[in-house]
Structure formats: structure tokens, C-alpha cells
Symmetry: C2
Subunit: 233 residues, 2 copies
């Protein structure tokens, strides 16, 4: 099969972008080596593989690097095409999945990060934006996927499940650090039940870091951002 050969993922354990590649590899059942990168001290391999963005995740397949998480997910789907599917067959169904994945990728995470790195009025404003996005997602999912979760089939997470899970999978971590709930099952019943079912998937469970470790990291970043005048996270 086209997907034979050596596979290495360069990532960091807390990055949602690494997480989605990790989940895709697990859904497909692809064996891979994992290299944890230190972003404060980037390896020469990282800089060689991704000279444009100097970022993770990087998937290296038989010596060839692929970068940008969404590009990597498409590559995995196309290369290991005989494994479980990440995208449905039908072009229109694929377009819907890609649309919502792009929405999450381009619009939701930056607002979530803003909530995590601010307080007071700035946080209230960011939280309002997050709720607007969650409302759009709730209504959009209801309209776009009348059958419920957009998993490719009941057994396997698909591309959109993976992207949702990479951002909202750690919602309990976020909620503990913030001391407030944002994933509200009364306001967003579909999104909430979707995320709660995704975190029960074996691939997600086995790749989820210990809760306290994640809380400590998000708390550290939050405190650092709050102390910085520019709010850099």
C-alpha cells in the first residue's frame, strides 16, 4: 500500500495541532515514532523540515516532511486510503466537513485562547465571542449533519471530529483554570454531547495527557499572559 514506510511525528504534547495529527494516525492504525519538540529550543530537524513556519506538527513519511495540520490530515487520508476513512466519499459531504473544520481552525481557537489569557472586561468580551462561535457551530451542525455527529461512521472519528476534539477535548482543563463553564449543555446540546462522546473514544483517551499536568500548563500560560502588558500567550 502507498502508506508503507517510516512515519515520524514531531510535535508537542499540549498542542491541539499535534493532537489532531496524533488522532488521525491512531484512527488509521498507523505505527509512528513520536518526537517531542522543545519550542523554546527548536531542533535542527524541525528547522530543516519546516523552514517557512518553524512550527510543529511535522509529519515525516519516508524522509519527506509534510507540515500544516490540515494539510497533514488530508495527506494521511490520501496516503493510507485503505484504512478507516477520515472523510466521507461524497464531494458535497466532504465540503461540509472541510467548511466546519476551517471554521474551527480559523475562527474558534483564537477566541478560546483569548478567553484563557485575559480577565475582567477583556475576558467577558472574549467569552461573548466564544459563545457566538459556539452558537454558530451548534446551529451549523444541526443544519449540516441531520444524522447527528459527523463521524464518518459510528466506529471511527472523522476529520471534523478530530478537529473539534483537538480544541474542545480539554474543555474540563479550560473550565478548571477559568473557574467557569463554557460548554453548556442547555445552550449547546449538540456540541456538548458531541464533545463528551468524542473524549470517550479509545484513541482520545490514550492520547490525553494527565488532567493535572494540562491544568498546570494552561495555568502557567494564563498567569504569564496576564503578567505581560501585551497579553502574550
Amino acid at each position: 500500500m502507498a502508506g508503507e514506510g517510516r512515519v515520524t511525528l514531531h510535535g508537542t504534547w499540549a498542542s491541539p495541532y499535534s493532537k489532531r495529527v496524533e488522532l488521525a494516525l491512531k484512527v488509521k492504525g498507523i505505527e509512528y515514532e513520536y518526537v517531542e519538540e522543545d519550542l523554546m529550543n527548536k531542533s535542527s530537524l524541525l528547522l530543516q523540515y519546516n523552514p517557512v513556519h518553524k512550527k510543529i506538527p511535522i509529519l515525516v513519511h519516508n524522509g519527506k516532511p509534510i507540515v500544516e495540520s490540515m494539510v497533514i490530515l488530508e495527506y494521511i487520508e490520501e496516503t493510507w486510503s485503505d484504512g478507516p476513512r477520515l472523510l466521507p466519499e461524497d464531494p458535497y459531504e466532504r465540503a461540509k466537513i472541510r467548511f466546519w473544520a476551517t471554521f474551527l481552525h480559523q475562527q474558534v481557537f483564537e477566541v478560546l485562547v483569548l478567553v484563557l489569557k485575559t480577565d475582567g472586561e477583556a475576558q467577558a468580551k472574549a467569552m461573548e465571542q466564544l459563545h457566538e462561535k459556539l452558537k454558530l457551530l451548534e446551529e451549523g451542525i444541526k443544519g449540516s449533519f441531520p444524522g447527528g455527529s459527523p463521524a464518518v461512521n459510528g466506529e471511527n472519528m472523522g476529520l471534523l471530529d478530530i478537529v473539534v476534539c483537538s480544541y474542545f477535548g480539554p474543555y474540563k482543563v479550560h473550565e478548571e483554570v477559568l473557574g467557569l463553564k463554557y460548554l453548556d449543555s442547555e445552550k449547546y446540546p449538540l456540541v456538548t454531547s458531541w464533545v463528551k462522546s468524542l473524549v470517550q473514544y479509545p484513541a482520545v483517551k490514550e492520547s490525553t495527557p494527565p488532567h493535572e499536568k494540562s491544568v498546570a500548563l494552561v495555568r502557567y500560560f494564563r498567569e504569564k499572559a496576564l503578567q505581560s502588558p501585551a497579553g502574550v500567550l
Copy 2:
């Protein structure tokens, strides 16, 4: 074939995002109806088809809307799969095309717009950023596509050609409004010759608005942005 049926594109004549859908449809030889939208007075169809972003372009195929230009290009490629190809067969080659298309989509256009809507020191800074991006593109294209242009074949523009052309195709319009050159054949020989060959493609020529009309519009937006304290374009 899967791509049969009625096709309508909702766009605006000066949008690079509409332009790329228009070019993809022309490359594939797909007949379509074009609806020019007035973004100051959005049609009820536009709002119905794209309630999340309320933006163009929107491709409507047999009554079903597809939005987001990059999602639409993938949809066109997959639906009219027996027409000329927009993407190569090999997953790694596809990943390279998608990587550079994402780079242009996410990083280059906003800098180009910044150059067009500022002057003085702010413009000098934006121009410096644009040159950094052009340098990355020049080096990246050299490394990624040793054969030269990433056109899928010599006859047909591919997805990356289309994205490049949607931004830099009107470089003469930008240069006239700015009164300066940015597409420098000495600094960026590959990118410059690539863009210059793309604007000669029949599909591009027949979809390029009259030069003076484009100059007038870009000049209008530039003047409006310079008059606005927030520099809104």
C-alpha cells in the same frame, strides 16, 4: 458524470476569492451562471446560502451551496473529476500544493492589502513584510517544484497557479495605484516569471476586468482607507 447539473457562482468582480473559483470553473470547462453580488446590500440568497460568514464566493451546485474558496476548489476538483486536474495524483505533491496555497491564503494577501491601504512608515513596514513573504515563496517554490511552475500540466493551471493568480494576477493594477514595483524579477525571478506566464493563460485573460476599472476601484479603497483613522479597507 458526478458534476452534471446547474452551477451558479455568487461573487464580486474584484474579489480574489471569487476569481479563483471562476478560474477553476474555466479550467474544468464547466458551464455556469454568474451572479454579481453587491456587498453593501447583500442578497437574501447570499444570506441564505452562507449564514455563517455572509460572504462570497458561493458556488451553488444543483441547489446546494458550497462556501469558502479553498473548500470550493477541492469540491470542484472532486466533483468534476474527469475534467482537467487541479491537483496532481501523488499525495505528497498534493500536500506541497496545499501547503503553498495555504501560505498564500493565510499570510500573503493580508500583507498585500496592508501595503495597499497605508502610506509613509506604515507602508514601508508592510512592504518589508511583503518582500519577506515573496522571498519565502521564491525559495519555497524553487525547493518544492524543481521542474518550475506547479501547473498540473503545461496546458492547465492547477490549484496553486489559480491561488497565486488570484492575488498577484493584478500586480500591474497594484503597482500603478502604489506608484512602485513590488514584483521584482531580479529578486524574485521564479515568482515573477510564474505570474507573468499565468496572466497570459486564456482563462485568466478572459476573466480579467479592464485595467482602468480595477485601478479605479483599488484607488478608491486606498483613499477611503487612508482617510479612515482605523485604516479600514
